[in-house]
Symmetry: C2
Subunit: 327 residues, 2 copies
């Protein structure tokens, strides 16, 4: 009896703005191999005119082949499924958005197909909250796969819950009964990067080092004077000798995350908050949530791969997967 679990079944990619992850998945969604090429949207499109669809196609096809070409060559019949900014207007092709409220589960007609040198790849559409009456809506690309994977990991709960997906553009997603109801983006990670790499606080910091106590102090900083002022607070603290200049980044991280959590934590269902992301970020958000008496369920595993594998099941890409026989 062969171990069907070790048989490759899907090439899955989470292809975002700055990062690209590629997984070779088996018939049960297990990870056989993983790669993290440094070929996000920005690197892939560097030096080309992003308005030129042909130039984009060539650039993405080359980046895809560089990441996964040997997998495709070894397993030519394997389906390829990708989520993230690869499906944006600056991506391989524009995979569009589904509008919330939206079922997490969707059919094959929602996928957009692009050609690579020996077959096709399928792109997952994003999700959007439409702008209305001049008020901005919001968009997600890639996080929808994380949401699907996280809910699958928890046994597909149906009660209303909040998923927190921290990152460059952190997402707060409300889900109930298999539907995404709404979501918001906080550009907390981007602000952190800009402030600590390019700003006056970067000059203060000099040689950053990890300082959990400084992070906790940032968490406790006030919010009454507004984010633009509380962030600046790191500077007088350092000038007054009350904050090690090397700890400025962790203080800034605390100020930003506390502000994000205070604004986004819903008033209801606080016992059903799911936190999902890299271990260090989850630890930080756990601390910030604890200040509100909230203990989230934490998933530090890579749930995007699990979500993509589920999407492949739903959309029939696993034509030969044993799971299909059960449906």
């Amino acid at each position: 009896m062969t171990d069907t679990r070790r048989t490759p079944s899907l090439i899955a990619l989470d292809w975002g703005t700055s990062a690209q992850r590629a997984w070779l998945l088996d018939r049960a969604g297990g990870i056989l191999d993983v790669r993290r090429p440094d070929q996000g949207l920005l690197a892939t499109t560097a030096g080309i005119d992003v308005r030129d669809a042909r130039a984009r196609e060539r650039a993405y096809e080359a980046a895809f082949w560089s990441a996964c070409g040997d997998w495709v060559t070894a397993h030519p019949d394997l389906p390829v499924l990708a989520c993230g900014m690869v499906g944006s207007a600056q991506g391989w092709a524009d995979a569009g958005y589904r509008t919330v409220p939206a079922d997490l589960r969707f059919g094959a007609d929602a996928l957009v197909r692009v050609r690579h040198r020996s077959g096709v790849a399928h792109l997952v559409p994003g999700l959007r909250v439409p702008s209305a009456h001049g008020a901005p809506g919001d968009v997600i690309r890639g996080e929808e796969a994380q949401v699907i994977g996280a809910l699958d990991a928890l046994g597909e709960p149906t009660a209303a819950l909040t998923l927190v997906l921290p990152g460059t553009h952190g997402k707060w997603v409300r889900v109930e009964e298999g539907k995404v109801l709404s979501f918001s983006t906080a550009m907390t990670g981007e602000l952190f990067g800009l402030l600590t790499e390019h700003g006056i606080l970067a000059r203060t910091a000099a040689e950053p080092r990890r300082d959990d106590a400084a992070f906790a102090r940032g968490l406790r900083a006030g919010r009454s004077r507004g984010l633009a002022t509380e962030l600046f607070g790191a500077r007088p603290l350092a000038l007054d000798g009350l904050l090690d200049p090397a700890s400025v980044p962790d203080y800034v991280s605390g100020v930003l995350i506390a502000d994000e959590v205070a604004h986004h934590l819903p008033a209801t269902d606080r016992d059903r908050v799911l936190l999902c992301g890299a271990e260090d970020l989850c630890r930080r958000y756990e601390q910030a949530l604890a200040a509100h008496g909230v203990t989230p369920t934490v998933l530090t595993e890579d749930v995007a791969a699990r979500g993509l594998w589920q999407i492949a099941r739903w959309t029939g890409l696993h034509h030969d997967a044993q799971e299909q026989q059960w449906q």
Copy 2:
């Protein structure tokens, strides 16, 4: 009878982080000449080790001489007075801080003297709110001269008032009876620069153009979701075709300024708000204040020169100025 008003009386400098302005002032504080060399602290200290006091002295002396050497040569007895980051720990010499509450008026012993190749220059100390119980205080360097100049321009009012000094690090200063009571900094201008030069919104913007309507929309954007989310709102608005990508910077400016004003506008004395700065910035803050029913007194003139001239009077630097004879 000679026109004493045309006799040079003071070389005054407002020497900040990114800019340097130098004025040749007459005996009544009138501006005979003005220069804006591109030699702020960052440019002056580029390539030297700022911890090396000797290297800093040489760099600042050279930058000073390049800006004002011909004035000093033509008028060798003229006093030189400078405020701003030139008096910081990364400056020509550390002129220290006076702690609030602090009289605006101070004596010659508060000035720090540095040598240049044919005399001395006097550096104005900054102002500080000390950090206390782990909560950040705040610091000002250079704005104290603007406050002095602005109050002088208004005939030295004694009632409590709020001065708004927008900029890279905008200041909100509370003054009463010739004393600075307190102040706060909002790094609104810095955040604007970081977001629109380096961030994802810079990619959205492409070719920015001025758009007053987009600014007004940014002013009206909500604040309930927090600054990190409202700023991101520019992106879905642009993706939804509801905001011209070229107008993203003005929208972001509106979001930032509205948030700053909402957090800093005092609950009392709203009929005594003084707004002082560059014309375009003042126009923006006027609009933001109008949303709170506040009509500020606006001073777009260069009040730092007037403030430095006043400091020179108080500290006796105008040893030959006719104003001294009146005291």
